[in-house]
Each structure stands twice: as structure tokens, then as C-alpha cells.
Amino acid sequence: MNDTKTKAATWHEIVLTTLKNNKVKLVTYVPDRVFTPLIKALHADSFFTTFPCTREEEAVGIVTGAWMGGLRGAVLMQTSGFGTIPNALASLVVPCQIPALIFVSERGTLGEFNLGQAMVCKTMRPVLSSIGVENHTITRIDELAFIVDRSIKQAVATQAPVAFILSPLLTGGKVFEA
């Protein structure tokens, strides 16, 4: 038996494969420690066009333009970075009906050490709910592919953005010693 085939896929392998299966070729991001293995794998895979942006709303603007040009795109950011994009969501993505796929590495909960992350984390779901952006907090690896795959298909079919909040329960989060 081939060991690599029986080895369980990691969360970042599942995200990458699901993006690929749904023809999401463009991934813009502002870096995050927890997302590092995903970002490295995206850069290593020629299927994807991926690069860092200086700011999260810039990354959102780029995938918006790409969608209008016929290319599907996703944005990666950490929780604090989410705090920079409500205007881009509320005045561009939502009113223009853009199926932007937003992946947030969840900080600010389950062992956070940075108060700033913790406070932005409290604003994230209320902001998404108040502007009607579908969002899923993903905690279990056995649900990850289903949620991401179905939600990308729904986003495209209904022309609506979706946010995936990847919990430390899924990714392991950023660990520190108290």
C-alpha cells in the first residue's frame, strides 16, 4: 500500500484541492502565520496565480476585478486584517454582487495573546451578518471540504460573497506559552 495515499489530508491540502476543483485560480493574500503552509503550497502550484497584497481591501479589489473579467478568486487574511475590509465589502462586493471567497485565519479566540486580535474577532461575525454576507466558522476537518466546496458553488450561482472563518480547532491556531 502507498503510505501517501492513506495519509489523511491536512486542512490546507483540502482547501487547495477544493479551490482547484472549483476553478478558483487567483488567490491574493496578506500573510498569516497559520496560513503559511497553504500560501506556500499555492505558490508551488502553477495552477494558481497567487501573490501578497499590501492591504486586505486591495486584495478584495483585485479579486473583484478578476471576477468581472471571468476569473474566480479567493482572498486570504488574518482576523485583524478583516477589520480593514468592511467598506470594500459594503460598498463594492455586496452591492455589485461579487462572489468573493474570503478565508480568514481566526485569531482572537481559544488562547489568543494579542488583545487587538481578540477585539477585532468580536466584530467579525456581527459585521458579516449585518451586511448579509454568508459566513461559516469551520472547526472540523471532516466538514471542511463539504462546506468550502458547496459554498463556492453557491457563491458563484447566487453571485454573493462568502467568508470562511478557519477556527484554531481546525488549523491549530497560533500557539504561545502563557
Binding site: 487567483l26 501573490f51 479589489g61 476585478g65 478578476a66 471576477w67 473579467g69 452591492p95 455589485c96
Partner: protein, 205 residues
Amino acid sequence: MTTQRTGAVSAHNAKVMNRFELTKRVVGQLKREEAVIGGIGNANFDLWASGQRPQNFYMLGSMGLAVPIAFGVAIAQPQRHVIALEGDGSLLMQLGCLATVAMQAPKNLAIVVWDNGVYQITGGQPTASSSTADIVGIAHACGIANSAWAADEEDFERLVAQALKGGPSLIAARIDDKPGVATTDRDPVRIRATFMQGLGVKRTL
């Protein structure tokens, strides 16, 4: 280097021109269904007034994102040239995008900056480019080598023609404080759908 040829033109000796007149000159050069992104406010009002091409996208919000949106279109459609029309105040809000554009170096992206030195639509408060910040200097320092001030209307036309041959490039034009000559219809879904049809992405509206 392009920058040396136009090096004599600076923000201080460039002619003060009119945004609507220059917008018409940009659109007049478009022969291959190039995409144009009009930044929030007067940049897209004058684009609207110049004639509603289906390849125009008019921003009704998200100040500062004209260049990122144009860059996204340029990535999706590498065979099509894309032009962002952005005001100085809007660009100053999102300067980092120039660094990203330079780093990725899209050959089909041109950026036109209308610099009137004021946040015109909010009451004419001064922008940093009215005194201390130099848009072309910033673009150069970000790594966009093809960045220049337009000396006058003819020079502007020449720079646009050059930008449509290859990019990325940035053209800055000093403009007067005349307001936009029309107001864009505030219908974001229709604007987006028309644009996608104009780009050949959507077959029907």
C-alpha cells in the same frame, strides 16, 4: 528610459488641464475594447459623461480601489488592456497598490491619475499632493518605471498611446478644479453586469 525623456516635466511645470477633456482623449484612443475603471467621484462621473462604453466600470464606493480592480481585470484578461482612472486623493488612500502592481508587473495595465490637489467632491480640502507628495515620484519609488507627468494635452495623448503598447505605466495629469460634467447612474448591479457583458464574460444582461 522613458522617465528620462520626460524628466523635465514635473508637477511644478506641467500644464493644468481639464479632466473631462483628457478623459475624452483617453477614450478616443481606445480601439480594441480596452477596459476602463473609473475611480469613485469625478473620475467616473467624467468617464460616464464621455460616453457609456460597455467596457467601462464606474465605482460608486470603495474609495481607493480603482487600481486594484483594474489590476484584477488585467490578470483575468491578459490580452486586453486595462486603464484605471483615479483621483489623487483616492490613490493616496491606497498607495500600497502601486507597490503590488510594480511587483507583479502586468503588461496590460495603465494608471491615469487626475491630480487637482484637492478632495474636490468633499469640499476642496487639500490633498498631500497639493504641497509635498509627488504622485510620479511615489510611483517611481514603488517600481513603476514608466511613470510620468503629462506636460500638456499632446504629451498626455502620447503617453496614453505609449501606455496602450505595454505596461505597467502611470500617467499623472495636473487638472483644474472643475467638477465632473455628469453624474453616473447609481445602479451597481447594472454597471457590473454591463461591464461583464462588455468584457465578453456574460452573454446577456
